[in-house]
């Protein structure tokens, strides 16, 4: 298929997945902000639950360019509505719809209508509506819309190459996000020693699990108190948890094997390597290395893989005397909205 079309499909699903993840993250933040927590020590402002989303998305610099303080109102506006923030839910939905629009002949009309409708509704929504209906209600709606779009895609689209690029985008974005959310435990949730096992600690962990819809799974799998080791195992190594790193890499590796067919491309090799580390990894190794270090390494790997996918499929540069490759390359950089490295 056309490389540009593949690129748009890939980013369409990444943008939708990102909108969903942002909603999940903000919802958890909101819930956690309702918990009583200790007065922050000086220099520990980042430990404010409302600062979490900035750490996770790596958007702190952009935020502080606009606001001086972290407040719930500012954060919600910045991450939900701000059209100048390419990672806001508003921008993600807009970009997904723009991506869909430029490949509307490649996706089914149900998919386009669903996304177009989502965009029209998002455009009509404003902050006061969210406040009056309830913040959680809105995040629930965003999540549901994302589920719905995946469902429409799953239920209507031909299982062709385009479908594979859509799935690839979803899992690349999801893997990235789950790793970032987990890493937050290192940054912020890390309680002082006395609080380990305490009520606040418990709520923080359960909120984190809920944000990736894994709370019930945890209880089913472990029937035990929540411990960092087990959460890491659940969200990194278990491949039966749909948002875990292992589950995402299963999909990514499988898709790339399909897409590479018989040709040997770096993207497939790299995906295989990342996959093998999860497939054959042990929890103890993760903690020996350090959870944060482990997750950083993974995020770097995912980012490299993204570059290889670009090179091999989405923005190929052919060697030809007359073919100008720069036009396509320029377009790529503008559609690669808001994927910022962790700060």
């Amino acid at each position: 298929m056309l490389a540009r079309a593949a690129n748009n499909l890939y980013w369409m699903s990444r943008h939708i997945e990102r909108a969903e993840n942002t909603a999940r993250m903000l919802d958890v933040t909101y819930r956690m902000s309702l918990l009583p927590y200790r007065v922050l020590e000086a220099g520990q402002e980042w430990a404010d639950p409302w600062a979490l989303p900035l750490v996770i998305t790596g958007r702190a610099t952009a935020y502080y360019e606009r606001y001086q303080q972290v407040t719930p109102d500012n954060m919600l506006y910045f991450l939900v509505f701000d059209a100048t923030n390419p990672s806001s839910i508003y921008s993600c939905i807009q970009s997904a719809r723009e991506n869909a629009r430029s490949v509307r002949g490649v996706i089914t009309s149900e998919m386009y209508e669903d996304l177009n409708d989502l965009w029209l509704q998002m455009r009509k929504t404003d902050y006061s509506q969210i406040e009056s209906k309830g913040v959680s209600e809105f995040f629930y709606w965003v999540k549901l819309q994302s589920h719905q779009f995946r469902g429409v895609t799953f239920g209507t689209m031909l299982r062709d190459e385009g479908y594979q690029f859509i799935r690839l985008g979803t899992f690349m974005e999801r893997a990235d996000n789950t790793a970032r959310i987990l890493d937050v435990k290192y940054h912020t949730l890390l309680p002082s020693v006395s609080e380990v096992g305490g009520a606040v600690d418990y709520y923080q962990w359960s909120a984190l699990l809920r944000s990736v819809s894994a709370f019930d799974s945890y209880r089913k799998v472990y029937r035990d108190a929540i411990t960092p080791m087990k959460v890491a195992e659940l969200l990194i190594l278990r491949d039966d948890v749909p948002r875990s790193l292992h589950a995402c890499m299963n999909e990514i590796y499988e898709i790339l094997r399909l897409l590479c067919d018989r040709s040997q491309l770096e993207a497939e090799r790299l995906a295989g390597e990342l996959h093998a580390r999860l497939h054959y990894g042990r929890t103890q190794q993760i903690f020996d290395l350090g959870l944060h270090e482990y997750l950083m390494e993974f995020l770097e790997g995912i980012s490299l893989l993204g570059d290889e996918i670009n090179k091999d499929f989405l923005v190929p540069a052919y060697t030809s005397n007359t073919a100008p490759a720069d036009a396509a390359t320029q377009r790529q950089s503008s559609s690669q909205l808001g994927l910022q490295p962790l700060e």
Partner: protein, 500 residues
Amino acid sequence: MTITRSPTTFGTGATLNQSSTNDALRHHPVSLTWFNEMYDDGAAPREHYAAYAEWLASKPLEFMLQKQKEADALYARHGITFAVYGDETGVERSIPFDIIPRILRPGAWKKLSDGCCQRVRALNAFLKDIYHGQEIIKAGIIPAQQVLGNNLFRPEMRGIAVPNDVYIHVAGIDLIKVGHDTFYVLEDNLRTPSGVSYMLENRNMMMRLFPDLFARVAVAPIDHYANVLLDNLRAVAPSGISNPTVVVLTPGSYNSAYFEHAFLAQQMGVELVEGPDLFVADNMVHMRTTHGPQRVDVIYRRVDDDFLDPLAFRRDSMLGVPGLFAVYRAGRVTLANAIGTGVADDKSTYIYVPDMVRFYLGEEPILQNVPTYRLGERDDLKYVLAHLPELVVKEVQGSGGYGMLVGPAASKIDIETYRARILGHPASFIAQPTLALSTCPTFVDSGIAPRHVDLRPYVLSGKSVTLVPGALTRVALREGSLVVNSSQGGGTKDTWVLEG
């Protein structure tokens, strides 16, 4: 349901100066009253509208109102939009769709369809001729200056052979109806005519809104349009290609007709490409795919000539493909429509089309032109300047209803401003009488009221010259307005050709 039948209070209509020296006008007297396509003068439905009128009468106004709302919502949701140039507020808008169909009798359609095909065959022969032997100029039928001095004439195309001698793969012929079976051709669109997606989507919408209607009225189907188009495009592939790759080339998602480009590509099951998706290597055009370069044989391009190839035409074009023209000239890729068709649909060439029909086909034209004044001619200019309030004046190379003067609807100031423009360069303008465009009942705020309509059927060539039994009907939604362009507040209707 009651039908508002308020007489149109619009201006003086088509008053003609009988002392005019213009022969064409004397031979084509124009009716002074608007022809209502659905109802006769006694307010009874015409025969071919009877079944629909009976159905409509059984429906309460609220029902229709509900359906109209439903249609509007569906169009917004489908994202069936057009962009308006020069409008900063709305990047995209839905084009207004009117739920009352326009119905054509089978007999009337037969004549129209034959007439349009005849016209396109003649225009195509004209293009082949002017880019080769120029017999029509030698025969003294069209002045050389008219062709060679026209800036839409492409000298680069001289001597280039195109597959099957087809230049005009897709033509949109704009017609108006002024009497029972009297149609006039208003203009030919031979470059990249748009609107066919609305013809097709309007039918889908009607079938979705009123499925029972289609059981009552035998409407000829049109949804094979994309198949016919694809068949024709495949038939004009460069020689020696057995299984040609066809693509649709769009300027991109910000183009006003982008929806249509995507729609047609999808309906034909071919790739929708933008300029940067294509590149030239080894004297072939390729597209960039996820599996490497793939050769492209036929390009249904919706990019204007000027922007197709920065190496051959406008250097600043970002929409085109460098080197495309060289490959085209070598016959290794086909462009549809061909380069250089604009010279044949120019409004100053339009008046020669009946002569082309006689010259190339040896036939009498089935469809008439609207009588037209050429302002480059002294007598015509004099007459037009004396009668501006009655006439419609257009720029020869304008399109989309931009920059035209509708005399009866214009203020004194508008007219004087326009007069100054004409005097600046008279030869850039033509004028036509304000014609009594027919009206069709249309759903508007006040209920159902007559509004003016035109008709654009799409003629396809490649294998053969044909058209599907349908057309785009555009309707001027504002009361009294004669301008049907979507950029000027026009809407569309589903157009039914009855199976006869």
